[in-house]
Point group: C2
Chain length 319, copies 2
């Protein structure tokens, strides 16, 4: 099932895609399926909170939706919103790829996380807005998942059971702001200094501006339910900038795969229904490095396609 | 006005403090004030979303609340929740104090931010849980504010108008996890290397585990409305650990004050009603450095008092 948050005729909605061209409001499909109105989720967060029973209802709707084709919206007439409009958190894996791990002087034994602010999210088709003072700013094409139930202490074996579905996130990153938000201390005298860093200086970088500035989180177009993604660890990823294919890669090149990330994350963080987890950029392939994809200098749109999840496309607007 | 989120008799509530000993459920005060039930906020987020008109209603309730004393809950019989149970984001200022700025080899020109995950929040009286694998973990006593309206591009002059109120946050930080979540790259060949870092190595630290692990965000006890805090930049801050006064300081020692932080933040981030912003630790005073306050080794409770905002106390539980 492909689900979306969207606006049409001035009303905020969630709906079910019939095909590449039409989407049915869940309200219409729900009525057609004869389900009780008081159980109907009003947004994707309520859908995530409803668990497997509610998801089964939505699946009934999806089967009934084709009978509502006369009330469907043409996809090119809707405004996509991020599938999860207001997740309670976004948990983000940093530097999760085997190419970077290979060149690091000190890497991590388990995935390292940051938190991206939900206010950075925009939908498919909305503009990534870049100001010149952001400096070099590039896209990062990433697999994201939507959490389907409250989860702590998942294991690699059961982790995928907690996944409601998958989507695409463009983890837009400003190298310029990251550099500005770095503080350097001379060796603070804490022994031992980190491995690979024997001179002992401490460089602390804070990532909110570089990762969470408004519009730095394009997400969508769809939430594709987990049953349609049998193996999230083997999906091709492609990026186009201004129509040129600039990256070809695969989630198989991630250093830490989806179950391992979820196992490690939930030793520390309680995941809540509707939360997003995204997995870092697969960057091995392609003619360009990330730094060649400066959205301040190159023309958009920025398009990301992940196998089975659709194509997330966003124009780039320089302010 | 001092407002709180709390549970009593098994029901989740918000309420108004009468004094140090009693709190009235907003439902009771609202009824007593004769206000229409359909406008009553069910939680603090709805209160923040309601803007000045709703806040004026709640002020009417506060005046009526004393007539409800017979229905008030004794404070020692309630369970405090974090005042904002589920902010859409928490924006956190890093290393914001003049003592650290003075010793940095390279500091920042404007406040640097990270995002703390809302799932780390706990209420006054709830336990900070520490596992031995977290390594050195210390409290950070910080002023926090609650955003009262959607805000972008605030100026230093109008920034405080966007504040609904203030509270205390304990920005618990694990130095051990921070060190683990650091990746070091040899000089990546990007010129010029950051000032003060001429050897050119790049050390990237990701802060989610060290700052956002479950229970790392004690917050409360109260949301104190902004009218009761004429100058947030001159509040004394004191910390006790196991009953010993370990830090005495003031928000006057913050490098970047509240209006300046809000001005800079809202050049990049849209603040939404109910969001938390916290300001970094004032660490100048006291006999101990933060690293002497290891919650793995010292007995709790950890208590933070900020002038006019009450005292946030949390036991420390080692798992």
């Amino acid at each position: 099932m492909r689900l979306a948050s969207f606006a049409a005729e001035g009303i905020e909605r969630i709906g079910i895609a019939l095909d590449e061209e039409a989407i049915v409001d869940l309200v219409d499909a729900w009525t057609r399926a004869g389900l009780p109105a008081d159980r109907r989720p009003v947004d994707m967060t309520e859908l995530a909170l409803g668990g497997p029973a509610l998801l089964a209802d939505v699946e009934r709707c999806a089967r009934a939706a084709h009978a509502c084709r006369d009330r469907a919206f043409p996809i090119d007439e809707i405004r996509f919103r991020p599938p999860m409009r207001r997740p309670s958190k976004i948990l983000s894996v940093a530097n999760n790829n085997s190419a970077l791990a290979a060149v690091a002087r000190k890497y991590v034994d388990e995935p390292a996380f940051f938190n991206k602010a939900p206010s950075s999210l925009i939908g498919h088709g909305e503009a990534i807005q870049i100001r010149s003072d952001y400096g070099l700013t590039h896209p990062e094409a990433e697999l994201a998942l939507v959490v389907g139930r409250e989860a702590k202490f998942l294991t690699r074996e059961n982790a995928l059971d907690a996944v409601l579905g998958y989507t695409i996130i463009n983890d837009v990153t400003s190298v310029g702001l990251k550099s500005e938000d770095t503080i350097v201390f001379a060796n603070p005298g804490i022994t031992p200094p980190p491995e690979g860093f024997e001179h002992g200086d401490m460089q602390l970088t804070y990532h909110a501006r570089s990762k969470s500035t408004d519009t730095f989180g394009p997400c969508g177009p769809w939430l594709v339910t987990a049953d349609e993604v049998p193996d999230p660890n083997a999906l091709s990823v492609r990026v186009w900038l201004g129509g040129e294919l600039v990256t070809e890669d695969s989630t198989a090149n991630l250093m830490f795969d989806v179950p391992r990330v979820l196992e490690h994350a939930t030793r520390y963080f309680t995941l809540l229904p509707g939360d997003l987890v995204h997995f870092g950029t697969a960057v091995r392939g392609g003619r360009y490095g990330l730094r060649d994809l400066d959205l301040l200098k190159r023309e958009g749109p920025c398009e990301i396609e992940i196998e089975g999840l659709g194509r997330l496309s966003n124009p780039v607007e320089r302010l």
